[in-house]
């Protein structure tokens, strides 16, 4: 095994196969309050004497800001304050936490616009009033005077001026290895494509919200309604507002979907915090849906010009890609992350001797962009798999065969690419790519389906099928910790630095804890997203929670188990090695009847006043940390069969399969839920969803009537094949993340299937594939 991939020796590895509770589709422990209407989402948080904040937003996409007149607003009923940029001059712009590239700093967003307006929706002023309706009334009275400037809406157009001395291309993400030039000179064929992915995003059903209050009695600033990255956000809020981090606490209630966009540090988060400190009253801000469409991170928009050099058998010799990443108006917390991921992950599952990529990271006058579920992968899987289809067509090969010839083989694992992303080397940790491809083709009945489709086409139907292979990434380190404690009643509490965005974190961590401890998973209380309960944490993003916090849970629970067995051994006068824990009772491991003791009693015996504990740290509790230098790479294949209505151009999905190897499914029901839900979002990006703008940069997709997320009527039956053939060697559970594989390859698979239905290889060059475009392609095909 190669350096950095060998697991630490002392680790207890979870045996393969289903355990008592791990590997089983047990019911979620989260569901009760959510089903009773007892959840606590951001808007459900209220504090006495709170004020409501309303944001006045730019209505021009690019303008010189001349004057903001808030005098009329300040006299409105219930208004306590109105702030413009001058009032928050001391607050630095929103910083970035990820993929820091030198030179990006001047492009960060101020909390309120200064001098320039750069996108429709940019915060210009904020109103604080005693009632949400009155705050909105007053916001309408704020007059913004601005002088329009030319807008830049196309990231492929030449860069323009951002500010004196700075243009709208702050950086180019470059990666390269191998002899690219030589490979193209020696190539049997060169295949070139120009491809683009439309602007769309996570759009959770719950809009953002932030509720801040300052408790002067303890000198603590609290922020509620948070998600995803509480500890980093705490540190940054503290730094930006000049407070010590231990004087700031973030709290997570229920989170109505994250998908990458929620829980980043936004201007509104800082504004409510600053106002709570200054106005000495709790401040509540709840985003409305129109605001969400223009204020919360967009994603995905990229344009690729890609070339591949291949040999006579269709094997890749080199890829050379130049892409244009439309970042929108500012660089937000993610820095250049999505462009970096796109550049690093583009090669996917294939052997690639030489590679060169230049990602032009460009600003435009649109809402700023950042990550959305499978960031940089939804885009580049579309690009790469389009390329593989084009290679197959050029050489007269079957699309499955051309993939087979290029897939990294199981024997080559772990497979190191001379590439990095997110600051870690890309080492594909484990996988049997071709094995999964075979399973998926068999399950779908691919060969028989081809005959059936041919017959239907002969009968006049417009039907087709396509497939796309993908590699995901998960388990981003560097660390996460978990503390598990058992109290004197036997109740288990698990405190984690992870966050929940509604994906079932509590259940999954409880399952892992219960497996190790021998307790009922439903009685494990899982605490997450709270900076007052654990000092550090890296949150919930990048499909990292089950890998990182799951592994930390496993190790902490094993440590608690060991402590419990040791104390019980003393009580029962048996060696700990002869004991086990079942249903919260320590008993003989061999099943023989004999003395036993409950975990509650063991915990009592380990209390601070127990004589046995004199000189020792009391409590049946342990905290363990898990570290990882490298990511775990899940992978899979999507297969689509669809029908096109020649009259309307509408695409109807007839069958769909997602085959995804995630190493191990802690809860297969939840994994299927992640994959189906992820597919629905991929379907949106492939066929329906797009943030459109008019030529002046006015957003055209600002309601759910214009921005079409799939309803049940658009959802096909999705078959899910969860494979566990390639557990990750990087963690004791063997797990890889399951959050993004359902989304990753949907655009690519649909593109291939639409081409096939149209009998026009390469017809689809952009996403989303809208009915009007299909109509044009049908006309072209005729």
């Amino acid at each position: 095994m190669m350096d950095g991939i060998t697991p630490e020796a002392a680790r207890h590895i979870l045996p393969a196969g289903p355990g008592k509770v791990v590997g089983r589709g047990v019911a979620r422990i989260e569901d009760g309050p959510l089903l009773r209407g007892e959840g606590r989402f951001a808007a459900d948080v209220n504090f006495p004497r709170q004020l409501h904040m309303r944001v006045v937003r730019a209505e021009l996409a690019h303008a010189r800001l001349l004057r903001v007149d808030a005098s009329a607003a300040r006299t409105m009923p219930g208004v306590v304050a109105v702030w413009t940029a001058e009032d928050v001059a001391e607050i630095p712009p929103i910083p970035f936490r990820a993929t820091k590239v030198r030179g990006l700093e001047p492009y960060c967003q101020p909390v309120l616009a200064r001098d320039r307006l750069r996108y429709v929706g940019e915060p210009v002023a904020v109103v604080f009033a005693d009632d949400a309706y009155r705050a909105e009334d007053a916001a309408e009275m704020v007059v913004v005077e601005a002088e329009e400037l030319p807008v830049l809406l196309d990231a492929t157009a030449p860069p323009a001026e951002f500010a004196p001395g700075l243009d709208t291309e702050p950086t180019v993400v470059r990666k390269e290895y191998g002899e690219v030039g030589a490979a193209f000179r020696a190539a049997h064929a060169v295949v070139e494509l120009e491809l683009s992915v439309g602007r769309h995003s996570g759009v959770p059903l719950e809009t953002r919200g932030a509720i801040a209050r300052y408790d002067a009695s303890s000198d603590v600033l609290e922020l509620h309604g948070t998600a995803k990255k509480q500890h980093w956000n705490r540190d940054e809020i503290a730094r930006l507002l000049g407070r010590p981090p231990n004087g700031v606490h973030l709290f997570e209630g229920h989170v109505g979907g994250g998908f990458g966009v929620r829980g980043e540090l936004y201007p509104e988060d800082l504004l409510v915090c600053a106002a709570a400190l200054r106005l000495r009253r709790p401040i509540k801000w709840i985003e409305d849906r129109r605001e969400h469409f223009v204020a919360t991170n967009h994603s995905r928009e990229q344009h690729h010009r890609i070339r591949a050099a291949v040999d006579a058998e269709g094997r890749l010799l080199a890829i050379d890609d130049a892409f244009f990443h439309d970042q929108g108006a500012y660089v937000r917390t993610h820095g250049a992350r999505v462009a970096d991921l796109a550049a690093g992950m583009l090669p996917g599952p294939y052997r690639l001797p030489a590679y060169r990529v230049a990602g032009h990271f460009r600003l435009t006058n649109k809402t700023p962009a950042a990550t959305y579920r499978a960031p940089g992968r939804f885009e580049t899987t579309f690009v790469r798999e389009r390329l593989m289809d084009a290679i197959a067509h050029r050489l007269g090969l079957d699309p499955v065969e051309v993939r087979r010839r290029n897939l990294v083989a199981a024997a080559e694992m772990p497979f190191a690419r001379p590439l990095d992303t997110l600051g870690t080397d890309i080492i594909l940790d484990s996988g049997d790519y071709e094995g999964l491809l075979d399973k998926a083709l068999a399950r779908f009945g691919w060969d028989a389906m081809q005959e059936e489709l041919a017959a239907r086409r002969a009968a006049g139907e417009c039907v087709g099928a396509g497939l796309a292979f993908f590699v995901e990434k998960s388990g981003l380190g560097p660390s996460d910790g978990v503390r598990i404690s058992i109290d004197a009643t036997g109740a288990v509490e698990l405190v984690s630095g992870a966050a929940s965005v509604g994906q079932g974190v509590e259940t999954v961590l409880a399952q892992i804890c219960a497996e190790a401890l021998g307790v009922d998973y439903a009685r494990v209380r899982v605490v997450h997203g709270r900076t007052d309960r654990i000092e550090f944490g890296n949150g919930a993003h990048a499909s990292r929670v089950t890998v990182m916090s799951g592994s930390a849970t496993w190790e902490a629970a094993l440590a608690v188990r060991e402590m419990a067995l040791e104390t019980a051994g003393t009580l029962l006068q048996l060696p700990p090695s002869e004991l086990t824990i079942a249903e919260g009772v320590v008993c003989r491991a061999d099943g023989a009847t004999g003395p036993s003791v409950t975990l509650a009693e063991v915990a009592r015996r380990m209390g601070p006043n127990a004589p046995e504990m004199r000189g020792r740290t009391p409590g049946l509790t342990a905290e363990r940390w898990f570290w990882s230098d490298h990511m775990a790479y899940p992978y899979g294949v999507h297969l689509a069969q669809l029908r096109i209505d020649r009259g309307t151009g509408a695409v109807t999905v007839e069958r769909y399969l997602v085959a995804n190897d995630i190493g191990r499914a802690i809860n297969p029901v939840l994994v299927e839920g992640q994959i189906r839900g992820g597919f629905a979002q991929g379907l949106g990006g492939a066929l329906f969803e797009e943030f459109r703008y008019d030529p002046q940069g006015q957003p055209l997709s600002t309601t759910f009537a214009d921005y079409l997320i799939p309803t049940i009527a658009e959802m096909p039956v999705v078959d899910v094949l969860i494979a566990e053939d390639a557990p990750s060697p990087l963690n004791p559970l063997g797990v890889k993340g399951a959050g993004e594989g359902g989304t990753n390859a949907v655009g690519a698979a649909f593109a291939a299937a639409v081409d096939d239905a149209l009998r026009r290889p390469g017809a689809v060059t952009s996403l989303p594939i809208l009915p009007a475009q299909v109509r044009r392609m049908l006309d072209g095909a005729a």
Partner: protein
């Protein structure tokens, strides 16, 4: 804007709530802010997503598109009224058993929509069920388990009814 306040009594899950609101106060805001029933969620405030679906005289309605004053004298039912004595009802149980929720934000709306379906057309065809459920948005689940849960609840209730 009118400052005139209206005194009205809402009948929520069988209980009377006397509140004083502006004419422009939406039913959703009145439920959440004036009556403390925060189980009804707002997802779009323009009547598309259905997260705020409640039952008014047995019919599913968007609480964001109604003013509170329009609900006076009508029987309003919300998600808080489903569980009896803390015990989940068959539809709620079916949602849990079929993993029909992830983040749970759209869930109250789907539960109330599902309640109306079960009460008015328990033998609903699959096609009509899809048609009915297409009025609400979910961003997490991909919907299949929501439809399955409602079907399971219908089956469970017909079995209970027959027994």
């Amino acid at each position: 804007m009118s400052d005139a306040m209206h005194d009205l009594t809402l009948t929520l899950n069988g209980q009377a709530h006397a509140i004083r609101v502006e004419a422009r106060r939406t039913l959703a805001d009145a439920l959440r802010e004036d009556c403390g029933l925060t189980g009804t969620h707002l997802g779009c405030e323009h009547g598309v997503c259905g997260a705020c679906t409640v039952l008014m005289d047995g019919q599913p309605v968007r609480a964001c598109l109604l003013f509170a004053v329009q609900a006076e004298g009508r029987a309003i039912r919300t998600v808080e009224g489903l569980a009896k004595g803390g015990a989940l009802n068959p539809l709620q149980r079916a949602f849990a058993e079929n993993h029909a929720l992830q983040c749970g934000y759209c869930t109250p709306g789907f539960l109330m929509l599902g309640t109306a379906i079960l009460e008015t057309d328990p033998g609903i065809s699959d096609e009509a069920l899809v048609e009915a459920l297409s009025s609400n948005l979910c961003r997490c689940t991909g919907y299949a388990n929501i439809a399955r849960a409602i079907r399971a609840a219908a089956d469970a209730m017909s079995t209970e009814g027959a027994a």
